[in-house]
Symmetry: D2
Subunit: 429 residues, 4 copies
């Protein structure tokens, strides 16, 4: 069994590369990028390559370094590559749902990988089935592929097929595709999920987060715009922005929770967004205290921001087990005790007899925060003031996070003060 | 292949528990403790239990969560347990060298696990062979077991056998043993390696670091003294301090590098020791700068200390991939590029145009530090001032770290200023 | 690497069961049946079940006992089950090509498993693609499923859809399908591949060979007729023979090579067919000799028949390694030596100074037979007379065997006497 | 779970090779030999090599082809090799008990592999422990190694040490050892277990059965004599027969059950011994019948012998699943039904309305034979006459077969006629 958490789960990560000079080991670069994007999904990993127009793919359940080995990477030669790491939502854990998804159809072959959530997936699936489609997976990617290939039968270009498909799709989707002779990247018109563009020498790279471009030694250029379609091949890069509205709605959880702090998303440093949220908290919910601590890993940035703004010293009051994230065998006994100490320990020598401000990125179901407050009190903290760097999480978002209903969301059931009492905190901001 | 680093490698971790009331799942508690001690060794893991006087053991290559599963833990029932995680030095990677080591001899059975380095191992091995011993492993543990069992043939008690054995052993050793009717813990007279004692309800626990006692919900009581032998069974705890000199020589790397910051070793918080080292650096090697950053994970504490003392703001300038530590497939290409970006990325938005003080715990071979300085400069840092919280590492220590010769130690070959130039740093402290 | 042979490879095996009383463990029975059909395919195995109208499937590369374990079989509960073992031809080894194939379409769900070879697969695939189909595998099964589901959109019943599909399919196919509320079995109008029907208590069973019905303790009833469609559910069994021509063309290799001797195919015992072939050989190619020996396993039956007819004593002159069939690591050295001794050894004490008649089922590429003659001569045989129980294999058949071109077929390139000389045999019949 | 049988289990197999010219791939040859000896033990496999005086070993649980792969065989370079396949008796399944056993001691290194059963193992173990030995396994091999190395401390040569050790050992043992500069093979003075000598070009080979020498392309020379010690190195072969009594007592089960029919043991073809036993049965327990059938695999030879002597035609009445031997997942349901059909099926078309003589090699616990008789009757046999080619098995032998007590042996509890009735046979011979 796995370490359970009441945090929102991360989303998928995609990466694409096209090397016009055919000098790079594109599969290995993609592997390195998936390693850097691993925080966005740990359930499956896959890489497809285009080798002289033919697509080859390897994908399976597991982390990138479990799915791939030297031999497999060697076999995946080519000058286009497409990679994916996936967080599996309920019912889709099977390896048949791993991406990239590779198909053959009337106009050729296609490999497709995406990050997002198609809201009208069931409706689209029904319509496709009525027209003779048969489905082999539970994955929305299969629907995406069908919509695009069906449109492609009607129109002259893949570009137009994608534009038509975008008219039918509702939801969040950042997609990268390999065709026989090009790589295509696109982002839904709202730009719910990130996707950015970079260069590695003369090669183009596309990634969910800029940290993956850094990891492979490339240069971040810009974000793909909400609604933009980018096509890349020997002739360079072409952009179609006819679906672009000019203003996106990047999911707030990307900045406060999902992304790595060293990524830049839609032009803004994730770290700085979190730092600023911390400063904001200090201004709006300031209180006198001895130290400010952050909940590792994603609360650290905001805690430092809070410290900068308030002048209260930042301290290391919580320490996270470096090996958490790996599976952990649970027993009944552990479950009762909340497992929290296995993951995070309080530093008694730091918090003892102190008035502590603890900054976290979010309260979702409340139990993690409750356990942290308890942990800090047991370690001797005199006061525990909880500060949360995101707004109350009132509605489960349909665009990709894994919260099944409002009932489980603490902010839906209680007022801020009720939540504070439930958490056992002295104040809550 | 694994991610290479020029850091000193961690050492082994041991854990023991005796539950007089037979109500606890001692194997699972030991597993949780090994999970918390995983940073001390990732090459093999093992648990032995004493079930009504009979010893059972399961051990293999891999992390604790790879070696164990629910079924195996269920099978390991008993009321004494002994666990070990191991960092394997060259030539000892094989699973036959995994600990605990379990043997049958004239006076019964014994399971033994240790953390340390026996200096006179080869000499002792030779003497034992002359007396008819045959060896099946390359592990010093087999020598330890032989020495103690041979002595045991001569004297009335295991306690006396251990005292005699300690006279013959030179080196660092923190040992926990299970016999048919007791658990024994001991530490070499110099106390090079840590070992501490705690309670979990009515159960006694022994651990390399106090963080493991915290992780299982227990209370840290005290450290085992250098030279002390502790025997635990139904009659409670007995201590023999006849070999204790009163003053130990805890390996400096435990406080600055090996241990988890939330552990308390020989009465001192690891975090505070590092914080203090940072303050110290600020006093002795102060310089004007815009921000202080720490090298994750073990340089963070000292960086915060430096910030406290100097008043220069602490910032998050380097971000570590949470998934590092897992294996990573390398290619020639990666090796040239030093792989450092796969592990650690610089936060351009934080360091750009800044005068940066970067605090690390140690410079061992120099390449990691060199790469970090380069990374920070590429990210736009105007000045990079390196501050190292440990003294120059001049002599490879024979008591357990994994540096094969002085040639590789940068501090042996150059002066401080030469090192500074080699690292590309503006100043070095 | 695997033990290479120049024998024709076996074909797939299918098995289906419907238990109207819901008292049987249908997944385990199917597993046992696949174990009995394992000689028909060793590359992948799979079982799908229908549990209250929902289909669940587990399939992977490997032998039945590698693919399944107790937990998986437990999870596959239901009262319909469908199993498949597959011999993979070039390019289809991947586990995504494992059967049964499970899909969702407009009219519901379907699991399909088949044994055969669709001759016009490429043409059908092209037509389907033109109508918007996309393909995820290289398997003909995906085409079969598409053809049937497409037809199903036009007509009222699955039965009619299958009849229409059969009009479009050219080739060999014995198919078993699970729908939400029935099991369907069919055989192509030529009946190239076997398929038979039995009962296990009140449960209906369908199997490629009757030995699988025996293995699960059932009773063989009859063969499915060439062109027959059988539908089985709570209302019993319905047969549609409108495509049935009354006369089939069972592949000759089923009787002489693929099938297990204890199976009954199209009303005839495989063993007796082989025995009779042996008698026939004795009559047509009789020669004086001391002993008759058979090449294990499939030449034994005919050798006994030869002995019966000729009166020459049957003897055990060749012994097969029981563990052959499992993978064997090869080196260059082995390849030169033909590996034949690893597989089969000659019994010197039996053949020494004897005139030996050796009976095999077929000569395909010739090297195996050549090596056997050499082996027997080295063991001291004075004369070696080869008798082959099948007619010269002149044309590669397009209906399912794995011989890529006529060039490799020894009987296409040489006369009988040339072959005899090449084989080093004294006579050849 | 595995297919259960009430047959006696096979014993271990050993193989050794010394290549003076250093041109052979000795590890791969040993692997091929273990493949040929696999019928003697399926629980673990191992190979040790001597490379310029240094010993390297790889061993694990599993079949030879599961334990080894190309990379491992490549790593095992050298010009001496020693291999072992093991059937594990209760309590010794663990991989730590796999052989060869490799140790370092005062006089150097030693790899040792053996087939047999040391009767006075517990006594010897006790004496060794009193003298300071500690044991890490439950394996008798560890005792063998200790006895020899201890003796070696007292005397000048390994040869003399082995002679002294043989004085202390009671039981069955065929041993092959690698030292730093020679290979040694020996057989206990009774010669309970087989061991033979051959040549492969200029290389010496030692094997449990001659079929392994055949399999690697070598020539069988002779058997190692009971009590003989053979030493092989650059100077050729030296034999010491001072412990040889001239007359051995080869275990009867070797000829009738354990060995492969193509092996020659103590000068006699196993096949011919079985054939002769069949002729003998026909003479002593002749009866009129229509056909003679053998129980595969080890009853076939005797059935043919019976047929020769009696003139009653030999027929294939029972067919064995080629994949038996691999693991099979059992359920309660299967257990009740005896599983026998999964393993062996009766050929109805052969036995129907016939008077059948069925020849098996032994009746041990009786259930297998009972099930076979039942199977044949269900298949329509009119009369079933059981003929067993070994004498009644009255006493469990202490020298290596795996029958825990006399209670389970059918011949101990009943008279021949009672057994016949229990088996449901018409006659029993």
């Amino acid at each position: 069994m796995t370490v359970m958490t009441d945090k929102l789960h991360e989303e998928c990560g995609v990466f694409g590369i096209f090397d016009p000079e055919k000098t790079l080991n594109v599969a290995h670069i993609t592997y390195s990028a998936l390693y850097a994007l691993q925080h966005r999904g740990q359930h499956s990993a896959g890489i497809a390559v285009n080798n002289e127009g033919e697509l080859y793919c390897h994908r399976d359940s597991g982390l990138a370094n479990e799915v791939f080995n030297e031999m497999v990477l060697k076999y995946l030669s080519g000058n286009y590559a497409l990679g994916h790491v996936r967080y599996a939502t309920a019912g889709s854990e099977g390896r048949e749902n791993a991406q990239p998804f590779v198909i053959k159809y009337h106009k050729g072959q296609m490999a497709i990988a995406y990050n997002g959530n198609i809201i009208n997936a069931n409706k689209l699936r029904g319509e496709l089935e009525e027209n003779g489609a048969m489905f082999q997976t539970q994955s929305d990617t299969e629907i995406l592929a069908y919509i695009i290939t069906r449109e492609r039968l009607q129109v002259q270009t893949t570009e137009q097929a994608i534009l038509n498909a975008m008219d039918k799709l509702t939801g969040a989707y950042s997609v990268v595709m390999l065709c026989s002779n090009k790589m295509i990247a696109l982002r839904d018109p709202n730009g719910f999920r990130p996707l950015c563009l970079g260069m590695l020498g003369k090669a183009y790279v596309i990634a969910s987060e800029s940290c993956a471009i850094d990891a492979v030694g490339g240069q971040y250029l810009r974000d793909i715009k909400p609604g933009e379609i980018v096509m890349i091949n020997e002739n360079g890069l072409q952009s179609n922005v006819s679906k672009s509205t000019g203003c996106g709605s990047l999911c707030v959880f990307e900045q406060i929770y999902f992304a790595r702090p060293d990524s830049v998303i839609d032009g803004q440093s994730v770290h700085h967004a979190r730092l600023e949220a911390g400063r904001c908290l200090a201004r709006r919910y300031g209180i006198d205290a001895d130290i400010v601590i952050g909940v590792p890993d994603s609360g650290i940035d905001a805690a430092i921001g809070y410290s900068y703004e308030s002048g209260i010293p930042y301290a290391l009051g919580l320490i996270k087990n470096r090996y958490v994230g790996r599976t952990f065998i649970q027993t009944k006994q552990n479950e009762r005790e909340g497992l929290v100490k296995i993951k995070i320990n309080a530093m008694a020598s730091v918090v003892k007899n102190k008035r502590v401000i603890v900054v976290d990125d979010s309260i979702v179901r409340g139990t993690t925060t409750f356990n942290l407050v308890k942990l800090l009190r047991e370690a001797g903290a005199r006061e525990v003031h909880v500060r949360i760097s995101s707004p109350p999480f009132l509605n489960p978002c349909y665009f990709g996070t894994d919260i099944s209903s409002r009932d489980k969301l603490i902010a839906c059931r209680m007022s801020i003060d009720e939540i504070r009492k439930t958490l056992g905190a002295d104040t809550l901001g």
